[in-house]
Symmetry: C2
Subunit: 251 residues, 2 copies
Amino acid sequence: MTPAPASSAKKYPCEKCPLRPLGVFRDFTSAELGFISRFKTGELTIDRGATVLVEGNHSAHLYTALSGWGFRYKLLPDGRRQILNYVVPGDLIGLQGSLTGEMQHSVEALSPMMLCVFEREQLFSLYRNHPGLAYDLTWLAAREEQMLDENLLSVGRRSALERAAYLIAFLHQRARSVQLYGKGKAEIPITQQHVADTLGLSIVHTNKTLRKLIDRKAIRWLDRGCEVLDEETLCGIARWEGLGDQRRPLM
Amino acid sequence: MTPAPASSAKKYPCEKCPLRPLGVFRDFTSAELGFISRFKTGELTIDRGATVLVEGNHSAHLYTALSGWGFRYKLLPDGRRQILNYVVPGDLIGLQGSLTGEMQHSVEALSPMMLCVFEREQLFSLYRNHPGLAYDLTWLAAREEQMLDENLLSVGRRSALERAAYLIAFLHQRARSVQLYGKGKAEIPITQQHVADTLGLSIVHTNKTLRKLIDRKAIRWLDRGCEVLDEETLCGIARWEGLGDQRRPLM
DNA sequence: CGAATATTTGACGCGCATCAAATGTGGTGG
DNA sequence: CCACCACATTTGATGCGCGTCAAATATTCG
């Protein structure tokens, strides 16, 4: 259930980070890079379906997604599941738990993932010695909050069709901004059950709602995945402006 | 629409902060208190219904609630409203906007409020010179995220009755933890429209749902307000464990 | 006292949940 | 390589939860 301890061999040393040059991430000083490089104590590779963090646990690590897709969720005692947000490369995982002591949600991989592993203990040193990075951590927390705000608006006040359109457009934009698609087809590796648990709908109604988007040729549904065909239509249905494209920090 | 500029007369200097001694807030060093005191450039008193911050604006200030109730919300273009969370004394307002540049939600007072006013510009100095306070800011952002996670779970996966019970228990616990009730009766100053916009329900159905809680003698409904009679029952209906009662920072 | 805001209630219908079952589709072991 | 199983998608039937419409009562405030 809990992932194996991080190996200390770094296949992707921070100096050769494949994400950092992408242009969506802010520039870092060499002092900052040096710190992050020491802060990173390992890498973790996990399979689809593996659990990164479990609600109720007290984790000694936090992570940055280096590749792949994941999602954060909470469960009710009777098993009902709510997906809170998705994880794409560049996202921090487990900051909440590192600060407040206990994870209040779980994180699971939607595809094979690579994670950079950081030691919670060194967070204090980060705050003491690198105010710019400390600012970044708060920035990342604030951005996560913004995404949650929008998701809450969606689940609370948008219709099923609007919600589905919003979700898919949202994931599409996030994936594209970190070039998660590569050159193959642009596929989001989720099942309709994931969509249902994100939108607060049943899986049956989710299927019928997605069919409408398929009929309008806004998306195509593959096995275990979704391909966006017409982003404009999706944003239009959801009455959503899209994500801003400001540069962001990368831990 | 935008509040008037803060007055510089401080009726509640930080050294005599009425909140800080409450015991739910962590202890601060005198250096930290000194900084916060300089960081605070004024106080703002506003009426019920007044808007503190508006979505889309770029604010030069951030605030800490000193007294009263407020709420954060977002609107869809056609006017549908989703309330995201509530503000009670000790809560920070506008951190998101201060970091990312633009407010993505609005904040309105539910009762008369007093706010401490801080200058956004001095945030950098806080990060440079007070790592402990910087850590606190991230902590507060992470806690806001936790509350949003729980609200999203509620709206997405709980039934109408469970949602209503959860919301009222949640607000009750938050209010009590900062002794917002004083010695009079414990009244949460919201209308059923606020409840509806928080839970993602219509106002009619909200009324019928609240009636069930009233019939079970779990709450009493006053004009523009809700009084909790049986917290246990509320938490039981919602299958909710309650808020942790860890001490928290206070900016 | 009149107007605006809140709460309440009933009637009706739609959106979505639930139940049931058929049809892929990929993965695994024999 | 095929049989089989677990999982994912799809579809239809039925019913309930909640939205919408409408209108009657408070209650507050100018």
